[in-house]
């Protein structure tokens, strides 16, 4: 057809329309004459016209307008927006587009929602939304997306929030079928978010799968609190005209209609019970694969919502527990008075269901003849749209919650398992821990971003306080300070660090001091995929630093989804002093005593004393002082006879001030062990400390030491293992473990452990000292000499390596050198304390057993801490039959 031909057809068509339909055939016969094709074309057009009716009679302008707002304003990568730099678009929604962006000011990733231009800055709806969004965000609940900022640049409004990697629940259910436990887990998390929001009188109004983000680890974040107010027109209602009117916001509303409560649809007043209904719809959909009221059109959906009771869930998933059906049905009551009245009740019912299913599942698993494969998938009857005709196809494959006949033998096995399961179940209910294994976490040293390097005590101090507070939780394994601080300078490879520490998640942070403000950024990272579980910025006055630490610890615990008891909550926010200045002195002290050099330890003690002067009730500072004196006495051999009692007195004072402080009991136990040689007394205190804080590495480590020194080797090694779990990278512990193995006579294992410790800390003297002792026992004297010399070089203040070296020298015939060392030490003893046990060992090695025993008796009289090795030190073995030695053993309660 060409234009000319079309013109002809058109003209005839126009003319034909002017005349009565009955006359048209005659008219066309005449007009078209022999051109049958022309006649056919015109006739076809006339038929089509009669057929067309409303075809393209409406207009698409409104639709185009809506689309224009949504589309084609995509910002490109690199686009600068306020202090944000766009990385990529990550979503688009009714309100606007969402981008991943870099916050160039604070150097973090954020999500930015750029609001469509229809949301004007002066819109009162928007203002109200902003208020609610801010309020919800400030709840700081782990399942609520954190909003950092709501602002405007030019005439564009934007919302900046934390960036959460994951998919919307909508995407998740579009691509996979969830298992019952996953459904419960998701529902519980959504309801937990709502519990917090409702408590603050914030109603979400638009709970639907699009507003829930599921992280790869199953973690949930609920988005867009209060947003629905903006999106659902005030006039949302049932009348056809209204529905038509709403076409304007069609794209926006469509997603929401299926999840609306009846009162929302009727444009009545809504309260928090609307969220209960919408969550009911979501749970229904997760189980059934379809929403309960969905109709072919929006008005049909509305009508169903008001008039129709939903199909029971069992219709779509045969294996659904009755209880879940009951919960969903109760949430979906049309009259809000008949529904759950509080989200707390819904949340509690869901949790209880999960727990009882968990219990049943254990039973099931313990049953030996049951197929143990986990097939608890709830299969929607069908995924196609004609579910109504397909009702016969109901899942029958699930073994969940199904009992099978079992034999008598199986029964007895089952009974035992039942008892075990019941016990486990009870333990779980009573403990603060989460189902399954204990969670693990390391808090890496917060980076000091201040110009002043002296402010490092502050970043270290805050890190340590957060570690302390978190390690009070029994449900969480928290890496000790020492292991974590190994990564102070390089935290770039998060995955490797987590692997080395054996933890699931890491906390990192940085601190900047600006005038009297502290800006603390904290991130909780999932080590598996290096994704951020949670992040927040705390801008606080320096004086508020103490409270902030508790906040951080609490936020971390919540974001790990630990179940917290009231006691846990208290422990998380526990402050050991209310005086910021005292805390600062304490932190300066800690910073110094960890350097382990005598001068610095003494300086550290002075800071603890200052902290105590300011806050005489500061128990932790006393515990610090106790650790300082102990470090001088044991680590540096400085006047143990005086320093150990000082350490003990400080520990006792700490307990007097705070009887719940595990550090204090540990400190006391160590003094009883090294100073008073009160083995059983020390054991009691260690146990007390571990009861208070199962994550106290020092308690585990020194308790292991005690056990080793009294000859309970297996227990000692088990206790050391516990310490190592908490602190796998602590060189001190590695060295001690080597020593415990040495005491137990497991020499090769001891060497292996010490070898690993060399690698961990090449400049640490202690493993070399112990290695020297091991080589000596193995008869490898040359090696023993080399290792002892290394230890001396690395720590010139300690004398005991000289004793080990002399023993080996004497064995290879270099007795003169051993004597020279002895004389050197005797000269030194004029100016400083040298443990008498050192002299005893050397005298013995050069063949003067009587003098050796003299010195041992002197060591006893002066309470030389090294006497605690009397029972297990193999270097004393040749003297053990000496009556004077036997008497010493008796006096020491061995």
């Amino acid at each position: 057809m060409d234009s000319e031909r079309w013109q002809k057809i058109k003209d005839l068509f126009d003319a034909a329309l002017q005349i009565e339909p009955t006359e048209r055939a005659k008219f066309l016969d005449t007009s078209c004459a022999d051109d049958f094709e022309l006649r056919e074309e015109v006739q076809k057009l006339i038929d089509s016209f009669d057929d067309a009716e409303s075809f393209i009679e409406g207009n698409a302008a409104v639709e185009a307008a809506s689309l224009m707002l949504e589309l084609n304003q995509t910002l490109q990568k690199g686009h600068q927006f306020a202090h944000y730099e766009i990385q990529k678009q990550i979503g688009t929604g009714g309100m606007g587009q969402v981008y991943l962006a870099d916050d160039t000011k604070l150097d973090r990733q954020v999500a930015i929602k750029i609001l469509n231009p229809e949301f004007s800055q002066h819109d009162s709806n928007l203002q109200r939304f902003i208020r609610e969004a801010k309020a919800a965000s400030s709840l700081n609940h782990p399942n609520i997306l954190v909003i950092h900022e709501i602002g405007a640049a030019g005439d564009t409004n934007y919302i900046v929030s934390e960036y959460v990697e994951g998919k919307t629940l909508r995407d998740v259910i579009a691509h996979s079928q969830l298992k019952l436990f996953e459904i419960l887990d998701i529902s519980i998390q959504i309801s937990s978010a709502l519990v917090a929001a409702h408590r603050a009188n914030i109603v979400h109004r638009d709970i639907k799968p699009e507003n829930v983000i599921v992280r790869p680890d199953g973690y949930i974040k609920v988005l867009d609190f209060g947003l629905a107010k903006l999106l659902i027109p005030r006039s949302a209602g049932l009348e056809a005209s209204t529905v038509k009117h709403n076409e304007t916001a069609k794209g926006i509303i469509l997603g929401t209609v299926n999840y609306m409560s009846p009162e929302q649809a009727k444009a009545e007043r809504v309260d928090e019970r609307t969220d209960i209904f919408s969550l009911g719809v979501v749970i229904y959909e997760l189980v059934a694969g379809r929403t309960p009221f969905r109709g072919a059109s929006m008005s049909e959906t509305f009508a169903n919502l008001i008039n129709i009771e939903p199909q029971p869930l069992a219709r779509y998933a045969a294996s659904v527990p009755e209880e879940l059906d009951r919960i969903v049905t109760k949430s979906l009551r049309k009259d809000k008075e008949d529904r759950y009245q509080s989200i707390k009740d819904l949340n509690a019912d869901l949790k209880e269901l999960r727990e009882s299913l968990e219990f049943d599942r254990r039973l099931e698993r313990s049953e030996p003849y049951v197929n143990k494969e986990e097939t608890a998938i709830l299969q929607p009857a069908t995924t196609s749209t004609n579910q109504d005709t397909d009702e016969a196809r109901i899942d029958t494959t699930s073994t969940l919650l199904r009992r099978r006949p079992f034999t008598v033998i199986a029964l007895s096995v089952l009974l035992i398992s039942l008892l075990a399961a019941g016990y486990f179940f009870l333990m779980q209910k009573s403990g603060a821990s989460q189902i399954g294994a204990r969670r693990s976490l390391a808090v890496l040293p917060f980076i000091n971003l201040s110009q002043d390097p002296n402010a490092e005590y502050l970043s270290d101090g805050i890190t340590e306080s957060v570690i302390n507070n978190l390690s009070q939780l029994s449900g969480l394994k928290v890496m000790s300070r020492n292991s974590a601080f190994r990564f102070k300078s390089d935290q770039s490879d998060v995955k490797r660090i987590a692997l080395q520490l054996g933890v699931e998640s890491l906390v990192t942070g940085d601190i900047k001091q600006l005038g009297d403000k502290l800006i603390i950024n904290v991130r909780l990272i999932n080590a598996d995929d290096e994704s951020q579980i949670w992040g927040n910025q705390y801008v606080r006055n320096s004086t508020d630093v103490l409270r902030t630490q508790g906040e951080i610890a609490t936020a971390v615990a919540q974001n790990l989804r630990l179940k917290l008891t009231n006691t846990d909550a208290e422990r998380l926010t526990k402050r050991y002093t209310d005086n910021a200045e005292a805390w600062e002195f304490y932190q300066r002290g800690r910073f110094l005593i960890f350097k382990l050099m005598p001068a610095e330890v003494q300086q550290g003690n002075a800071y603890f004393q200052k902290a105590i002067d300011i806050d005489p009730s500061y128990a932790l500072a006393y515990a610090g002082l106790s650790a300082g004196y102990r470090s001088l006495a044991l680590g540096s051999e400085i006047n143990p006879a005086a320093n150990i009692p000082k350490s003990k007195a400080a520990a006792e004072k700490a307990i007097e001030l705070d009887s719940s402080l595990s550090d204090a009991y540990t400190a006391l136990a160590i003094s009883l062990f090294w100073g008073d040689w009160d083995w059983s007394g020390a054991e009691v205190q260690f146990k007390r400390a571990l009861e208070l804080n199962p994550n106290d590495v020092n308690a585990h480590m020194f308790y292991a030491h005690l056990l080793s020194n009294v000859g309970r080797h297996d227990e000692a090694l088990a206790e050391a293992r516990r310490a190592r779990e908490l602190d796998p990278l602590l060189p001190f512990l590695g060295a001690l473990e080597g020593q415990f193995l040495f005491h137990a006579g497991r020499l090769d294992e001891a060497l292996e452990r010490l070898q690993r410790t060399f690698e961990l800390a090449p400049n640490f003297w202690m493993p070399h000292l112990f290695a020297s002792a091991v080589y000596f026992e193995k008869g490898m004297f040359e090696e023993a000499i080399v290792e002892a010399e290394k230890a001396s070089q690395l720590s010139p203040t300690i004398t005991i390596p000289l004793a080990y070296k002399s023993s080996a020298l004497a064995k290879v015939g270099r007795t003169e050198e051993a004597r020279a060392d002895l004389n050197k030490l005797l000269a030194m003893s004029q100016d400083r304390t040298i443990p008498p046990s050192t002299f005893a060992q050397i005298y013995y090695s050069v063949g003067e057993t009587d003098k050796a025993l003299d010195w041992l008796e002197k060591a006893y009289a002066e309470r030389d801490p090294k006497m605690t090795f009397l029972k297990v030190g193999p270097y004393w073995n040749p003297m053990r039959s000496e009556p004077r030695f036997i008497e010493l053993m008796r006096k020491m309660n061995f």
Partner: protein, 191 residues
Amino acid sequence: MAQSADSSQEISRILQEWSDGGDDATNKLMPLVYDELRRQAARFIRRERDGHSMQTTGLVHEAYLKLVDQRSVNWQNRAHFYGIAAQAMKRILVDHAKARHREKRGGVAENLPLDEARFAVSNEKSVDLVELDEALTRLANLDARQARLVELKFFAGMSIDEIAEILQISPATIKREWNSAKAWLHSEISK
């Protein structure tokens, strides 16, 4: 606003250029018109939400009043402006429908609550916008004015009378042209 005064002059100049035979006037004009339409769309939808209904034609009119210095533009230029606006609106809808088709083929959109790849105003037969666009291109080869008429009416939401006024053609003629265009498009799409 200084900005809109500038763009007003700019658009008037481009429209002028167009009537003087400038080739790329449409290309230059499209993004400007599009931007303004979007701004108006925002206003429009906001008002709609607040319960003030507004004629859809208002959308293009407002954009026109905002963008074009009326004193310096003759009616052909004005018709051209409306034509461009209608095309802009067509483009966005058709592109969106194409994207939906793609998603559908990819299996993503299966669960859409309503079939968004098709377009239906209440009480109207739904129409596949991609097909309609293709048919319109064929119609333009037969009669360019008719194709533009359909764009103005369906995509820009203008009434017969408004179109008559803009195109300076009698409403009766427009009505006739509309009938045959609609019948032809319908038969093309129902093929």
